[in-house]
């Protein structure tokens, strides 16, 4: 079973995302910020990361840059899931190595189709 790391400082968003991602057949892990996510990835690299942008301690983009520099850090499929919906922010995320991008609010259909597009399903 593939693992999806859900990174978001909102407990409610993590809960909703967990329900959706679990229904798609993933085992889920959670992190409240980029640093926690990075610590998790250093121990065990997940197949997928669903990533918020604005979080305390370490934001999503800084996490992504550091993740991609880790050994095997290029492997996880990273899907941003954020309220940042400016074209410039989306481009920045893609440049940093994001595979897909979801603009909040999201629903299960959006997560499912995005996961399909990047070959996770």
């Amino acid at each position: 079973m593939k693992t999806c790391l859900i990174v978001d400082d909102s407990r409610v968003v993590r809960m909703v995302a967990k329900k959706i991602v679990t229904s798609l057949g993933f085992k889920t892990e959670e992190a409240e910020d980029g640093q926690q996510a990075l610590d998790f990835c250093k121990k065990s690299m997940p197949e997928a990361v669903l990533l918020d942008w604005n979080m305390p301690v370490m934001n999503g983009i800084d996490f992504l840059v550091e993740l991609r520099e880790l050994p095997n850090g290029g492997e996880p499929i990273v899907v941003f899931c954020t309220t940042e919906n400016e074209l410039s922010k989306i481009s920045e995320a893609l440049m940093a190595g994001a595979n897909e991008y979801i603009m909040k609010p999201f629903d299960s259909d959006i997560i499912e189709t995005k996961f399909q597009q990047v070959g996770l399903l």
Binding site: N85, L87, I90, A98, M103, F106, D109, I110, T113, Q117
Partner: protein, 268 residues
């Protein structure tokens, strides 16, 4: 809605569009027609049905048909047909059409435009036909849907339904919370209001016809008539795409399935 009201409206839709509404679709009439009633200054369903029955208001009848023939769509719907076009059809046509370097596609029920725009993006990205001309005819019976398709403006929610983010960045401009399709991409598409029951000859011929999730709305004789029309508009080595729940079997001898490509048909 009473059964007699349903029958009257279903008959109107069938006569004008060929689309068959079965009683299990009563909820669709109930949910889609109140805005039409409001638009025409009618109080509710009772008044709307009476006005349709009187038969003097053509604009109202058109709006009822319009409301009942529109369908939600998404970019790269079902993914697989687009993958087939990219991996199988474009490379094949690029060889057989070496001289002409033109590919003609018909999106026969384009709804709000996601299908023709998806085709245009894909054609633009495909290496085997780089530098080729691709013409896409996008038609729909619904004037409202066609207007939306032609505007090429989508909400944040719509652009997240099936559209890869790289395509969004490349082919859309942002205007507040709306996303607007690139004008250059749009220039490959010709929009036309068209009823599939009408004579298709003036439309020209096509290498690829997309007629997905359309036939399911028609009865058997109408399905056969539409397929016969499409067969005449398809190039000898062209292909027809139908929806996953649709087939030509028992409806048309003009087509045969393309082996190993589900939902794809060629001339028999």
């Amino acid at each position: 809605m009473r059964p007699d009201q349903f029958t009257l409206l279903a008959n109107l839709v069938k006569t004008q569009s060929g689309i068959v509404l079965t009683p299990d679709k009563t909820y669709l009439l109930e949910s889609r027609l109140p805005p039409v009633a409001r638009k025409h200054g009618l109080k509710g369903m009772e008044d709307l049905v009476n006005a349709v029955k009187a038969g003097r208001n053509k604009a109202l009848a058109d709006d009822v048909v319009d409301a009942m023939t529109t369908n939600e769509s998404l970019f790269f719907r079902d993914q697989k047909p687009f993958q087939i076009i990219k991996d199988e059809i474009f490379p094949k046509l690029s060889k057989s059409r070496g001289g002409a370097k033109t590919i003609k596609i018909w999106s026969a029920a384009c709804s709000s435009g996601q299908e023709p725009y998806s085709l245009a993006m894909m054609a633009r990205e495909e290496r085997s036909i780089q530098g080729w001309t691709f013409d896409i005819l996008a038609s729909d019976i619904s004037r409202e849907m066609l207007k939306k398709a032609q505007a090429g403006t989508y909400t944040q929610f719509e652009v997240q339904r099936g559209l890869p983010i790289t395509m969004l960045v490349k082919y859309f401009k942002q205007n507040g919370d709306k996303w607007i399709i690139d004008k250059g991409l749009q220039s490959h598409i010709r929009f036309k209001e068209f009823n599939l029951l009408h004579d298709m000859a003036p439309l020209g011929t096509f290498d690829i016809v997309m007629c997905r999730n359309v036939l399911i709305y028609f009865d058997q004789p109408t399905k056969s008539k539409i397929l016969a029309g499409i067969a005449k508009r398809l190039a000898p080595d062209g292909v027809l795409f139908l929806g996953g729940a649709e087939t030509v079997l028992g409806l048309s001898k003009d087509f045969k399935p393309v082996p190993s490509l589900r939902g794809v048909y060629q001339l028999a």
